[in-house]
Symmetry: C2
Subunit: 326 residues, 2 copies
């Protein structure tokens, strides 16, 4: 089977492709387990690095370009993991860019899926950013998403399109609302949540880190490994498990910034933790505050989606990755 | 001030324009009550009929045509009532048409608003069709819209765009989810709810009427006069009354098809009621069943949105309109 990963050169996309290569098989829309013969990593910024696998091909292009997407999918795509997006901070700064990539890109991808002779499976990486104010203390499966950021609104529009296209039989779609993923390697990005990785990653690399939000700020987080496992689990579940509701809040753990720093202090020492400085940035803080930090994910739990144990284990995972040269 | 009504030649658009002409004043985005100097009725199908008012102009064109919409709004539009839409049955039969008019049309209109030097007020006629299965017995302000029709998904996408553009200050937007409006005059249309007017209107005109749903089917309905009053009320409320949540379920009344027929029998006699025949149409019935028929509209009630007394009074209103030659 042929699998397309949009945003395939991104951090999560690369991890997902590694996992796809490692497992080698997926369940197709007809419910048959089949060998993965081809993985196409589509990205605006080039191909995934440091992964040499004969099944992997890279396609560089703009997800909002209909011709690129049509050529990408062809008529032989069995599964799509749609991760390409303009992240929260960037979508807030540039409304048009966010609409183009997050809305038009998703819509064009669904159109290309629809034109295939067989409806493919499609997993859409949505976000807990679909939730804004006002929210109950704990968000449940019944809580209405009321986004208060353009990114959140655009992701929710994507979910609605995936849902309606699934109902109509154009695709077999599944949307998972990812928690904030920590710890991301590499450089800071334009996500409002970028600091959540930065305050761990930079001090461990001997660099100063700036935290733009209050230490009491709480986040709903998951590790990269758990996020990738959730994307694969969403793909593998039978369509009947999803029924008419094609969107789901993913399990995560609630952690405050000060708890994250305390875990860093315990794992790496006071000198490392002291590299974090607080410089309030109200634009970032307002977006982050609008996201919920506490969920009851009963539906995802019943469907056996994975969950991290605690923040210390997420941190250990990152330290192991670092030690392994990742 | 200049007011644009999209879908201005439609049944509700014409009623709204009559009401705007009659009241002569509206509150602008700055909170000042001002005289209406110009009303532009935009429609794909020509101008409103039988209304001779020097303030009224008609613009014939396609709401999904950006150049048409830009010219329509100019830089001097104070208020927009956005009623233009492809109705439920038609959007279900033709996915592309629904996306073009209901999504692209709304998005283009918001773009044109955004390019104005002053952000206009915008009232968006959404629908209870944003709700699909599975629903609680009574839908409340907290119930999550989970559309199970393309029309419902497209209206909800429109709400999200209006909400985000309001948050960003491009417009001062307000979305009201209209109940099924009965009794509509004229001919049947492509809405799945078209029968709800047909089973009253056609028998009173001496014609046979076909009812495609079970007599026990319940609907959430409002009269044309109440719907128009709600659109105006939505416009007149201060922005602070809306806050960050720019969408609202409108008050209505719950009525079953058999209660509607019984009211017709009492008002017009057995011979008239006997002109209704039941011919089940599962495609229509499935859409109508997916809509909720019972609401607790606490938020709208607190904001003093109008509500009909009962179905008998809605029927009396229609009979008075008929007698008045409307």
């Amino acid at each position: 089977m042929k699998v397309v990963v949009t945003g395939g050169a991104g951090f999560l996309g690369q991890r997902l492709i590694e996992a796809l290569c490692a497992r080698g098989r997926l369940t197709d829309a007809a419910g048959r387990e089949r060998a993965i013969e081809r993985i196409v990593a589509a990205d605006a910024g080039g191909g995934p690095q440091a992964l040499d696998d004969p099944r992997l091909a890279c396609a560089r292009g703009d997800i909002a370009d209909a011709a690129f997407v049509a050529a990408l999918l062809g008529d032989d795509t069995d599964s799509v993991f749609h991760l390409a997006a303009v992240v929260s901070g960037a979508a807030e700064r540039d409304f048009d860019l966010g609409m183009r990539v997050n809305v038009d890109g998703t819509r064009g991808l669904l159109e290309a899926c629809r034109r295939q002779s067989r409806p493919p499976k499609l997993v859409f990486a949505s976000s807990v950013a679909v939730f804004g104010q006002r929210l109950p203390p704990t968000v449940t499966d019944a809580t209405t998403p009321t986004p208060q950021s353009s990114y959140g609104a655009q992701k929710l529009i994507g979910e609605l399109l995936v849902g309606d296209c699934s109902r109509r039989g154009f695709i077999d779609g599944r949307c998972v609302r990812l928690p904030t993923i920590v710890v991301r390697p590499g450089r800071p990005n334009a996500a409002a949540s970028s600091f959540a990785s930065g305050i761990i990653r930079e001090p461990l690399a001997g660099e100063a880190a700036v935290c733009p939000v209050d230490p009491a700020t709480a986040l709903w987080v998951a590790s990269p490994a758990t996020a990738v496992a959730a994307l694969l689990h969403a793909h593998e579940l039978p369509a009947a498990s999803w029924g008419p509701l094609r969107s789901l809040n993913l399990p995560g753990i609630r952690v405050t910034v000060s708890e994250m720093i305390e875990a860093l202090r315990r794992a790496a020492g006071e000198a490392v933790a002291a590299r974090i400085h607080f410089e309030p940035d109200e634009a970032v803080a307002a977006i982050v505050r609008s996201w919920p930090s506490s969920f009851d994910t009963a539906r995802a739990d019943a469907l056996r989606f994975p969950r991290d144990a605690d923040f210390a284990s997420i941190l250990s995972q990152y330290l192991r990755d670092l030690a392994g040269g990742r």
